[in-house]
């Protein structure tokens, strides 16, 4: 019974690893074949870290812009974005 359970979770894990791989920028560019779990895990960690850095950078740039901007026009811009999307 335990072997059945581990087989099921193994399939799930394989599928999840493959889904993660499809998200990674490197994979999207080269359309790579199936990478190892270890590689996908490493690339996922790197990707998350780079996304964190981007958010940090964008926060900085937004803060510079919003220093001189008043909140009402900021709100108006955001609402406009909402309608556009």
């Amino acid at each position: 019974m335990s072997s059945r359970r581990s087989r099921i979770s193994e399939e799930e894990i394989t599928e999840l690893i493959s889904k993660l791989q499809s998200l990674l920028p490197e994979t999207r560019r080269r359309g790579a074949s199936r990478a190892s779990a270890a590689k996908v895990l490493k690339e996922t960690c790197n990707y998350i870290k780079s996304l964190h850095r981007e958010v940090d950078d964008l926060s900085g740039r937004l803060s510079e812009l919003m220093a001189t901007m008043d909140v009402d026009s900021a709100q108006a811009e955001i609402v406009r974005s909402l309608f556009r999307s």
Partner: protein
């Protein structure tokens, strides 16, 4: 795999609210303080827009550990705050799931290694250690990841990455939107006014 339109709209809505709530202090803040406030708003907006997931709860819990964040979080999340930070009743299951994690990771990496390169026991051990090591690294990066087992961790990581990407895209779009009027204002200074030439005619 992408974030939904409703997530995007909810994110922008929450971000707007976050800006409004902390805007009072914006003018009096230092650049660094404003940046932290914006980043906090963005993270809360992302977690709030996504709803209840293990990583969103982990993120809110992590953010609320800072005293200065807690009042903002309570203000912007309202009743959601209590729900998102409440320890789940299933937390006592953690010790057991760790065993399942190790077992499933062992089986998974051993099988994986056999499928790819049927070497020997040594490479199997190496692969298993590498996967374990990388899994630990991922646990630290995904909010709330420390208490998750193999499948859940990967599932949450997947969801988290999709949400992070959307967060980056939306913040980038916002930046572009905010910069546009400034660019227009700049171009007005350098180019002759179209309206004036029209009126002239």
């Amino acid at each position: 795999m992408q974030a939904t339109k409703s997530f995007e709209q909810a994110f922008l809505r929450h971000l707007l609210r976050g800006f409004r709530l902390s805007a009072v202090s914006y003018k009096s803040m230092s650049l660094q303080e404003r940046k932290s406030a914006i980043k906090l708003s963005a993270d809360v907006a992302m977690a709030s827009a996504r709803g209840s997931r293990k990583w969103t709860r982990g993120l809110i819990t992590k953010l609320s550990r800072e005293d200065e964040h807690r009042s903002f979080l309570r203000l912007i999340l309202g009743t959601e705050y209590g729900r998102l930070t409440k320890p789940r009743h299933g937390s006592w299951k953690i010790p057991r799931s760790k065993k399942i994690v190790r077992r499933s990771l062992r089986v998974c990496s051993r099988r994986k290694n056999n499928l790819r390169a049927p070497h020997g026991v040594k490479s199997g051990v190496l692969a298993r250690t590498l996967v374990e090591k990388r899994t630990h690294a991922l646990k630290r990066l995904v909010p709330g990841g420390e208490s998750l087992d193999g499948c859940s961790l990967l599932d949450e990581a997947l969801d988290y990455v999709i949400s992070l990407r959307a967060q980056v895209d939306l913040m980038q779009k916002l930046l572009t939107t905010f910069e546009a009027p400034k660019l227009r204002a700049l171009s007005k200074c350098t180019l002759p006014e179209r309206k004036a030439s029209f009126v002239g005619k």
